[in-house]
Homo-oligomer: 189 residues x 2
C-alpha cells in the first residue's frame, strides 16, 4: 500500500535489533486518515470472506482493527495481554514470546467473544517471526472459530513469519512488506 510505505519512508526510524519505530503515525501518535485508508484496503481484500468479527491484540492493532470492523459492520475484539479484574475466568489463554520486548506473556479472550460459528478476520500491526499471530490463531483454534483471513499492516518478510502462515494456507495480506533493512534504510519487496 503506497500510502503506508510512503509514511514509513518519510517518518519511520530504524532502531537497533531490526526495530522499526513508527510511533509518529501508528503506535503512539495515530493518524486516523491513514488508519481509515488501511482499513479500506483490508475491506477490499477480504470482503468476499464475510467475516463476522475482527480480532486483534492490544494495543497497537486496535485502531486499524476498529476501522476494519466498522467497514464490515461487525464487532471488533481485542485479546488482552494481562489478567484484568473485569475479565472472567472463562477465557481462552495462549502464550506469546515477544522478541522486541524480550518477555513472555499471556494473551486472553473471553469465551463469550469467540465462538465456534465465528468467521474471524485477524488484524495486527506488525508481523515478524509471527509469535503474536500464532497466539491469536491458537485462541481461535481453541474456540474452533474459523480464521477467514489475516491482515497485517507491516510485515518484516525477512523474518519469515509471513511465509510460514501462507504455506499453512492462510490468506495473509500485508499492506507494507519489508524485504530488508539496508544502510539504515527500509527496502520494500
Amino acid at each position: 500500500m503506497d500510502l503506508l510505505e510512503k509514511k514509513i519512508l518519510e517518518e519511520g526510524q530504524l532502531l537497533e535489533g531490526n526495530i522499526l519505530k513508527v510511533d509518529g503515525f501508528l503506535n503512539h501518535q495515530v493518524d486516523p486518515e491513514l488508519t481509515l485508508e488501511m482499513a479500506k484496503d483490508f475491506y477490499a481484500h477480504f470482503q468476499d470472506q464475510h467475516p463476522n468479527k475482527v480480532l486483534t491484540l492490544e494495543v497497537s492493532g486496535i485502531p486499524a482493527a476498529l476501522l476494519t470492523a466498522h467497514l464490515f459492520q461487525v464487532p471488533m475484539v481485542f485479546a488482552k495481554k494481562i489478567a484484568s479484574r473485569t475479565l472472567s475466568d472463562d477465557v481462552y489463554v495462549s502464550e506469546v514470546f515477544s522478541y522486541t520486548k524480550e518477555i513472555r506473556y499471556e494473551i486472553r479472550v473471553d469465551r463469550r467473544f469467540l465462538k465456534k460459528e465465528d468467521r474471524v478476520l485477524l488484524v495486527d500491526d506488525f508481523l515478524a517471526k509471527g509469535q503474536a499471530l500464532s497466539g491469536l490463531l491458537d485462541l481461535c483454534n481453541q474456540a474452533q472459530a474459523q480464521v477467514v483471513g489475516i491482515g497485517i499492516l507491516i510485515e518484516k518478510a525477512f523474518q519469515g513469519g509471513g511465509e510460514r502462515f501462507r504455506q499453512a494456507g492462510y490468506d495473509l495480506y500485508s499492506l507494507a512488506k519489508i524485504a530488508k533493512f539496508e544502510d539504515g534504510k527500509v527496502v520494500f519487496e
Copy 2:
C-alpha cells in the same frame, strides 16, 4: 447519551467494588457503530474548541479517541502505561493509582507528540475518582499544552472525580453519568 445508556442497561454487569463491566461493547469486544455515535457526540459538543489533537490513555480509551480524532481530522495520541523499548527517554511522565486494579503505574507521552502550542481534547472511557484523568492533565501541564475539553464515556458521578474537574473550570462532558448503583442496577443522573 441515550444509546450508550441503553447499552449499559441492557448489557452492563455490576461487579463487586462498584465495577461496571462493559466488556461486551466497550473494552474487550468493541461495537464500532456505537463508538462512532459517541465520537459524533463529542464532535458536536467540542467543535467550537478546535482541538488539534486528541489525547487518551491506552487501552480502552483508544477506540472512541480514534474516531473523535477522525471527525476532527487531527492526530490521536495515546499515553502509554509502561516503558516501551521503542519509546525514547524524552517523555513526559506522570503517576496514576488505579483503584480498580489496585496498582500504581506510570503513564508516558513522548515529548514530540505534546507541544506548548497544542489544543488538546482529552478522551477516556471511565471517570471515577479521576486518577487517570489527573495523570493526563499533568502530562499536558508539563508540556504547557492547553486542554480545551474533556470527553468521558462513562462517569461514575457518585465517586466525585467529575465534580472536582468541573469546579476547576474544565469543560468536562460525559456521555453517560451514573448517579448510583442500587439493588444491582445502574441509576443514571
